[in-house]
């Protein structure tokens, strides 16, 4: 297990070492909170849906986790291009340990990023309704982080270079975010959209975080957590398999 620990530690050292990236990655969530939160807030209130900022906050938290997680996973491609991956592949440890260490490291980084965004949104005006539910929200956030980091590693195991990266961002990550109900309520949307959202992993993550922090939920917390746990287990299995086939 010491191998898993050192791989995890490496991800954290790299994340906290580049302060510029750390601060920079808070820019986008901040923009979403300010522009959409304050911009669409009045419309939302007029429609009788209450405080939009309360609705949006958990969505943007999950956005931060999604982007950081997928990105952390995809960094395996860089490790390959810069040669460092070989150093780990030739070490006397199993592929599963490497995959696990990298996933846990990336997930921790994405989770911390999510916590930063949550604090940021609370500074701007997001209110947690039930303080006691914060640990539940944190668990949901970690599951989201775990899922998307493992997804990133799975994708990176299949891609040979960074050329496919833009494709993944435009056809996987962005749709996953915009169709997840992070920005708008899923109740009452046209049926094709509600079907898409029902198979969007992030929809359950957003719903779980929102449900635990504000009490508003679409699927129900039990469904959310069941789905999150199951899909995380599935993607970890798939990721381990794909990663085991990576050649140096």
């Amino acid at each position: 297990m010491s191998a898993v620990y050192i791989l995890w530690k490496r991800e954290l050292i790299r994340y906290f070492r580049s302060r510029a990236r750390l601060v920079g990655s808070l820019g986008q969530p901040l923009l979403f909170l300010v522009a959409l939160g304050f911009g669409l807030g009045p419309v939302f209130a007029k429609a009788g849906q209450g405080n939009y900022f309360q609705f949006l906050g958990p969505g943007v938290v999950c956005m931060g986790i999604l982007f950081t997680g997928v990105f952390a996973g995809i960094q395996v491609i860089w490790d390959r291009q810069f040669g460092f991956l070989k150093e780990t592949l030739v070490a006397p440890i199993t592929r599963f340990e490497i995959m696990l260490g990298k996933t846990l490291g990336g997930a921790t980084v994405a989770f911390v990023q999510g916590v930063f965004v949550l604090i940021l949104s609370m500074l701007i005006g997001f209110k947690v309704e039930h303080i006691l539910m914060i640990p539940v929200a944190l668990i949901a956030m970690f599951l989201v982080a775990l899922f998307f980091t493992a997804l990133g590693i799975s994708i990176a195991s299949v891609l040979q270079d960074m050329q496919g990266f833009q494709l993944i961002m435009n056809f996987v990550v962005q749709p996953v975010f915009f169709l997840s109900g992070a920005l708008f309520p899923l109740s009452g949307v046209v049926s094709f959209l509600s079907i898409i959202s029902a198979v969007d992993p992030l929809a359950y993550g957003v719903d779980a975080v929102r449900g635990s922090l504000t009490g508003i939920t679409h699927f129900g917390l039990v469904t959310d957590f069941t789905v999150l746990i199951v899909i995380s287990a599935v993607i970890l299995t798939i990721g381990s398999y794909l990663f085991s086939r990576v050649e140096a």
């Binding site: 010491s2 191998a3 620990y5 050192i6 490496r10 050292i13 790299r14 070492r17 580049s18 810069f82 040669g83 460092f84 991956l85 070989k86 150093e87 780990t88 592949l89 030739v90 070490a91 006397p92 440890i93 199993t94 040979q160 270079d161 050649e247 140096a248």
Partner: protein
């Protein structure tokens, strides 16, 4: 005593291309063994098979008596490797790169500190231990990789073109370290290079590979005598011809090529 590296009938094919074709060789413990050949001869593929990064299509490899396919994890502990291209994490310090390696190779915790100091001093990088690797020159990175490869006290050290692109001073220094180490610890050194005078000076024995096969092997003196030439370089050219080889793409490059054909 059994030879520390035993390769038997190694073959590696990528789709329709045979990179290594039924190659066998043995290296006794404590030997400095040079693996020579023109570009695309199959040297790197062979090293990758020896170091468990590629699975041989057929044939077997034993390192220190351990079968590398059946017991790859155990086999990995017996060797250190310096790859052709850098394999350090640029965003970490020299020390952190070393620690990372020590933990991956399960060096006992109480010994880590002492060994880090010993090997970083050995390659004269102790003063730069807390600097990020991205601030290092090519030669410093190479020295750090050698120190890292030795950290878990391997029986065999593989080096794939360790002195490529380095100035004569650094090359000289690196071989000084390695030869001293070989004398003191009887570590077996298996390396590839394009610098024939280097192989002639340091190697106890050389093997020359071309088109996926070993075409000759023996001490540099024996090869020179056989080909009636004065230097190893001349012997090499006599054996492999003077035509320039275009670098044959590696397996992954080939797959990439296939991928591109599909995409467009």
């Amino acid at each position: 005593m059994d030879d520390i590296i035993q390769a038997q009938n190694l073959t590696k094919t990528f789709k329709d291309f045979t990179a290594v074709d039924n190659v066998s060789f043995n290296v006794p413990k404590g030997e400095i063994f040079a693996f020579l050949g023109p570009n695309g001869a199959g040297k790197t593929t062979t090293i990758k098979m020896l170091t468990t990064l590629l699975r041989p299509t057929t044939g077997s490899i034993k390192l220190n008596g351990i079968d590398t396919v059946l017991h790859s994890e155990k086999a990995r502990k017996t060797f250190g490797i310096v790859f052709q291209d850098p394999s350090l994490d640029d965003e970490l310090t020299a020390m952190e790169n070393m620690e990372f390696h020590a933990v991956l190779y399960k060096v006992p915790g109480r010994e880590i500190k002492e060994r880090l100091e010993k090997f970083l001093k050995f390659v004269e990088l102790w003063d730069r231990r807390n600097d990020l690797v991205k601030t290092f020159s090519g030669g410093m990175k190479r020295r750090l990789e050698i120190a890292r490869g030795l950290l878990h006290k391997p029986e065999i050290l593989f080096l794939d073109e360790p002195t490529q692109g380095l100035d004569p001073q650094t090359r000289n220094k690196i071989w000084e370290y390695l030869q001293n180490l070989n004398k003191e610890t009887q570590i077996t050194i298996f390396f590839t290079t394009h610098y024939m005078e280097e192989a002639e000076q340091v190697a106890h024995r050389v093997a020359i590979m071309d088109h996926g096969k070993i075409i000759d092997a023996g001490s540099p003196d024996k090869l020179k005598e056989q080909t009636q030439t004065k230097t190893l370089e001349e012997a090499f050219l006599k054996l492999t011809g003077t035509a320039i080889r275009d670098e044959e793409a590696s397996g992954i490059d080939k797959l990439r090529g296939h991928g591109r054909m599909w995409r467009h």
